[in-house]
């Protein structure tokens, strides 16, 4: 089983960026994700889309990171979350902070 996460950051025009995540995200790999996206956040991006359609797993440290991002940008969206991820976010009472789309 591949325990790594594949991170792809794409800074689009007009203050938007997309972060595509594949694999599994946990306390061991969350630092590399934070480092990869930090420049985009620091660059003052307004809209951040996290494409999690191919993310099989995310633990609470990953969710904590997303919550930080959500506080730092105007608009944050988790795109295509798996049922598991959707349940985790909902059960943590965070569906108001981490917008699940669709």
């Amino acid at each position: 089983v591949n325990r790594d996460v594949d991170i792809h950051v794409e800074a689009g025009g007009s203050g938007a960026a997309t972060v595509t995540l594949r694999g599994e995200l946990d306390v061991a790999s969350v630092d590399s994700l934070e480092a990869a996206v930090a420049p985009v956040i620091a660059g003052g991006v307004e809209r951040l889309v996290i494409d999690v359609s191919e993310l099989r797993f995310a633990d609470s440290s990953a969710i904590a990171l997303w919550v930080r991002w959500a506080a730092a940008v105007e608009d944050l969206e988790l795109r295509d979350p798996s049922p598991l991820l959707r349940t985790v976010v909902t059960s943590m009472g965070l569906s108001g902070r981490l917008k699940l789309a669709p």
Partner: protein, 559 residues
């Protein structure tokens, strides 16, 4: 009734850390003892011994072969010498028969023998003798016989007449050297004896002819059966006796004998067999040196490899030790931050467990707490700080003791959870925490659940289980001033409440609901004490390769 449930200390500390690849296993610590030069020396000695044996065998074979060849050559050469006998015998016999037939007519005898007498011919002189007056020859062709000057000459003539064979006598009176041959006519009664003399070089030394049967031999020919110097007829060398390997052969020569002694001038079988022992010796020495060098190199390499393997073993062992130590420290610290024992609760009991992740050496952020609020009420707390490590543990400790402090101040869980966000801020520390507070009114069997993003507690009674899914507020640390809402339910008598962290139910690649269902099923099995109940729930629900820490706290009304 009380149920002290100290956090379980797990003795299975030795969860295997990843092994360094290539670590030598059994026997890796055995390093060859002794000098690295011993084996190469042994190899060299063995090779030299084999070489010496082979060289000696080859030398012996060479000598044996040379001896055999020399004997064959000597026998051949000796037989060449005897070839002269029939020729001489024929000539003398013919002359003797002529004399016999002519009644000793001198002129015809002289005419007959004249062609074989003279310088460069077979004989130096041929004379005719009569046995009845053996003191002087009747006639002589060529030089005067040396025999005539020797004492006992007539005895030799008489002897020749009686034997009827070719009689041979050596003439060794310096300066004349030669051989004398005497033969009587066979079956004759008149007593004529023909006597001939062949000269020998005065020095009795003859250079060897290159095309003769003796070409590669040094030799000496003696008259008679012994090698008496006085009887030397001919030799090819300047000085006798012959040196080196010699062979001798004695052959009949008329009524006398010739002894042929020879030594080989050069190896008869060629030079290779003679050089072979030396070639073997030189090659053997080279092989011995090479073998020793190669062996030394191999021994050195093997020792290096063994040393490396031993080092790897030590490193692996050190790794295991450090891993166990770090894991031990993490667990010790973790347990130090958790309640030592459960409080006494009249009419109820509480229990808890903490399980570290299977492989982790880091301290986790999970915790539980049971706080007695007053005579009737108990506050159960379960929480989970995101992330791992000392920072997460410090946040956990801060939250745990803050809750205790606020609870003592009689704050409600709604107030407590709201205040906790002053202590934690995900944007500054990177951590957030999910916290579940359940106030249990033991007498009224009321449960007031307040959740800050935490998984719902499970209530089990009489073979039925239900999750208390009330309002779920934000996790602690997300918002500066979050608001929470409590939900109160009434529990049946003898009910059991289970609160836990996500490590219990979460498995990768599986929906969270599956884990919750598994927990519910496991918790329905009844009839056990609370400790046993917790053990079974952990065993049944938690993944064996659990990667997250797990805290679980249970509360049960006594029936």
């Amino acid at each position: 009734m009380t149920q002290p449930a100290a956090p379980e200390t797990r003795s299975r500390d030795a969860a295997e850390p990843p092994q360094p690849s290539g670590a030598a296993s059994a026997g890796g610590l055995r390093v060859a003892q002794g000098s690295p030069n011993r084996l190469p020396v042994v190899v060299a000695i063995v090779v030299l011994a084999v070489t010496a044996a082979l060289a000696l065998i080859s030398l012996a074979l060479y000598h044996d072969n040379e001896d055999r060849l020399l004997r064959l050559r000597v026998r051949d050469a000796a037989s060449v010498l005897t070839a002269a006998v029939p020729r001489i015998q024929t000539q003398l016999a013919s002359a003797a028969e002529l004399a016999d037939a002519t009644g000793g007519e001198v002129s015809r005898f002289r005419a007959f023998v004249a062609p074989s007498v003279g310088t460069g011919r077979e004989f130096a002189s041929v004379s005719l003798w009569r046995v009845t007056s053996p003191s002087d020859p009747m006639t002589t062709v060529g030089a005067h016989p040396v025999l005539d000057t020797m004492p006992g000459a007539h005895g030799f003539i008489v002897h020749a007449a009686h034997t009827g064979r070719l009689s041979v006598i050596g003439l060794f009176t310096p300066p004349a050297f030669g051989l004398g041959y005497a033969l009587a006519a066979p079956g004759s009664s008149r007593g004529f004896v023909v006597y001939a003399e062949s000269p020998l070089p005065r020095s009795r030394h003859t250079p060897t002819q290159s095309n003769s049967a003796f070409a590669d031999l040094d030799y000496a020919i003696y008259l008679g059966r012994t090698e008496r110097p006085s009887q030397l007829l001919l030799t090819s060398v300047k000085r006798l006796p012959l040196s080196g390997r010699t062979a001798r052969s004695t052959v009949a020569f008329g009524d006398n004998a010739l002894t042929f002694v020879a030594a080989a001038r050069r190896p008869l079988a060629g030079t290779l067999p003679r050089s072979l022992p030396w070639i073997i010796a030189v090659v053997g020495v080279i092989l011995a040196l090479l073998g020793a060098a190669v062996t030394r190199r191999l021994v050195q390499r093997r020792r290096d490899a063994e040393r490396l393997a031993a080092q790897l073993d030590r490193i692996a062992e050190e790794n295991r030790r450090l891993y166990a130590e770090q894991r031990g420290i993490a667990q010790t610290l973790q347990h130090a931050l958790l309640p030592e024992k459960m409080p006494r609760i009249p009419g109820a009991e509480a229990g808890a467990r903490y399980e570290a992740s299977e492989h982790g050496v880091d301290i986790g952020g999970d915790w539980y707490d049971v706080i007695v609020l007053d005579d009737h009420r108990v506050l159960l707390v379960v929480g989970d700080v995101s992330g791992h490590g000392l920072q997460a543990a410090a946040t956990m400790a801060a939250l745990r003791f803050a809750i205790r402090a606020y609870a003592v101040e009689r704050d409600t869980p709604v107030e407590i959870l709201a205040k906790l966000s002053r202590l934690v801020n995900v944007s500054s520390t990177g951590h957030l925490a999910t916290v579940l507070c359940v106030v249990v009114n033991v007498d009224a069997r009321e449960l007031t659940v307040t959740s800050a993003g935490h998984l719902p507690p499970l209530l089990v009674c009489d073979g039925e289980g239900m999750y208390l899914r009330g309002h779920v507020g934000l996790p602690v640390g997300v918002d500066r001033a979050p608001t929470y809402t409590s939900t109160t339910v009434t529990a049946p008598a003898g009910a059991t409440l289970v609160a836990y962290t996500d490590g219990l139910v979460e498995r990768r690649g599986e929906h969270l609901d599956r884990g919750l269902e598994r927990l519910c099923r496991a918790a329905l099995v009844n009839g056990a004490g609370l400790d046993e109940f917790l053990e079974r729930v952990l065993a049944d629900v938690r993944s064996e390769q659990a990667e997250d820490d797990t805290a679980i706290v249970a509360f049960r009304w006594l029936a």
